[in-house]
Structure formats: C-alpha cells, structure tokens
C-alpha cells in the first residue's frame, strides 16, 4: 500500500493512504504510524480522501492509531472519505462519533490548535 507521509508541522504528521484500507493493507498503515510514534510524533491526521474501500480491519487500524496517540497525550484526526462505502462502515460501527472527522487536511491539522 502506498502511504504518503507529510510533516505539516513539527508536531503533526499527515498520512495519506491510497486505494484499499483492508485486512491486507492495514498492517502497512499500522507500521507507518508506529514508526511515527517511535519518532515522538503524537499528533496524526489520517487523510481518507484517497481510500476507495475500507473493511473492519482497516477501521481497526484507525482505532489503533487513535488509542496509541491518545495513550501518549496526542490524538488522531481523520479527513473525510469521499466514497459512500467508506462512510457507511464508519456509520455502521458508530466510529464516525469516535473520530474527529474534518472535511480537509488544513482543517484537520488546524483542529489540533483549537
């Protein structure tokens, strides 16, 4: 899975996974944010704008990012997915209430300063 990582500021990293976020690719996302946590980056934005398909394992990876960052005093925010199917699984699991989901990267990064 291709995941672009953009350091938007000293304290916030933006992860942009592409394509499918599923049981096959979720370990890539987990490895990516675990590496950032090891490097002391505690604030993450995971941009779902390029995700076309997400399953329960993909959601589990997002929840893992949320829990890991909060455990060290940080947080994880999401950029809203454009695909209805991705929204659907977020709603079915009520994860759309768990995450702070913003319409774009700028707002998601800015939310850390709020």
């Amino acid at each position: 899975m291709h995941i672009e990582v953009i350091n938007r500021s000293i304290r916030v990293a933006v992860l942009v996974p592409e394509g499918r976020l599923d049981a096959s690719s979720a370990p890539d996302l987990r490895g990516c944010f675990e590496q950032l946590l090891d490097d002391q980056t505690k604030r993450l934005v995971i941009d779902l704008s390029a995700i076309e398909f997400c399953d329960s394992a993909g959601l589990a990876a997002l929840v893992a990012a949320l829990k890991r960052t909060r455990a060290v005093g940080g947080d994880t925010k999401l950029v809203a997915p454009p695909h209805d199917g991705v929204w659907r699984i977020l709603r079915l699991t009520r994860f759309e209430r768990v995450f702070d989901i913003r319409p774009n990267v700028d707002e998601a990064v800015g939310a850390f300063a709020a």
Partner: protein
C-alpha cells in the same frame, strides 16, 4: 410448485489469501452489476462477502498453510445469493457476539458489519465444510 428461473450464475474458486480480496471484490461488483443490482446493494454485498472471506482466511484456515474458498453466486428476479464454502476449522459461535458499539475496539466487527449490509447471513457446518450463505432481497424488478 412454483419454480424460479435463475438468470445469472458465477463460480469463483479462490485461494484463501488476503492478496486476492481486491480481485474478489471486482468479481462481486461485476456480477451484481450484471444483475442490475442497485449501487448501494452492490457496495454492501462486496463488503459483506469480503468480511466473511477474511474471516475464513484468518480463522477457519488459521492452522493450515493454504486453503481454498469456493464461492457461488446466483441471481434471479427476487434475490442475489452468495455461498462461500471452505474446508477449514469450524466457526466459533462466540465470534458472533455483537460488539458493544459504545466502546470502540480494535477488532470483532467483521461479522457484525456483514450482517448489517445484507438481508441474511446464514452459517452451517457440514461434515467437513463451512458453508456461509449471504442473501440480498432484490424486491420487485422493473
């Protein structure tokens, strides 16, 4: 007795490996679209079948190096049915417990999600096989 004419059928013999899930999704979408299934039902069925297949790979075949999943699709005016059969270990009903949605967890949502997306999910253990049947009611077709 009234007979029902099956208009479409497909059969997929799939190596039980996560790397084949994207291809499975394409086949499910193509079959559903050929049967003039509404888009929302197609995306729901694709995810439901995916979740059951991943469950088979991760749990039924957890103790073996490789396995196969036989997937049969059929579609008529009234319903779309996907049957997945494997020769792995039996399904543990304890995994069917509905998750507490008030407490986000890092797993345990797969079958719950599948059940929300189709009209029925049925599991049966035969002599040596697991048999999952997913059904989507199509309602009156124009």
């Amino acid at each position: 007795m009234m007979t029902r004419s099956v208009k479409l059928r497909d059969h997929i013999h799939l190596h039980a490996d996560l790397s084949y899930m994207a291809g499975l999704g394409r086949r499910i979408r193509a079959f559903s679209a050929a049967g003039k299934t509404p888009d929302e039902s197609i995306t729901g069925l694709e995810l439901a079948v995916h979740e059951v297949a991943v469950n088979i790979i991760r749990h039924a075949y957890a103790d073996v190096d490789s396995g196969w999943i036989d997937i049969r699709l059929s579609c008529d005016d009234r319903e779309l049915i996907v049957v997945l059969e494997d020769q792995g270990g039996p399904f543990d009903p304890a995994m069917a417990v509905e998750p507490d949605l008030a407490v986000p967890r890092e797993g345990g949502y797969g079958l719950y999600v599948a059940r929300q997306l189709v009209d029925d999910v049925n599991y049966r253990r035969t002599a040596s096989n697991n048999r999952w049947e997913l059904r989507v009611d199509r309602g009156p077709q124009s």
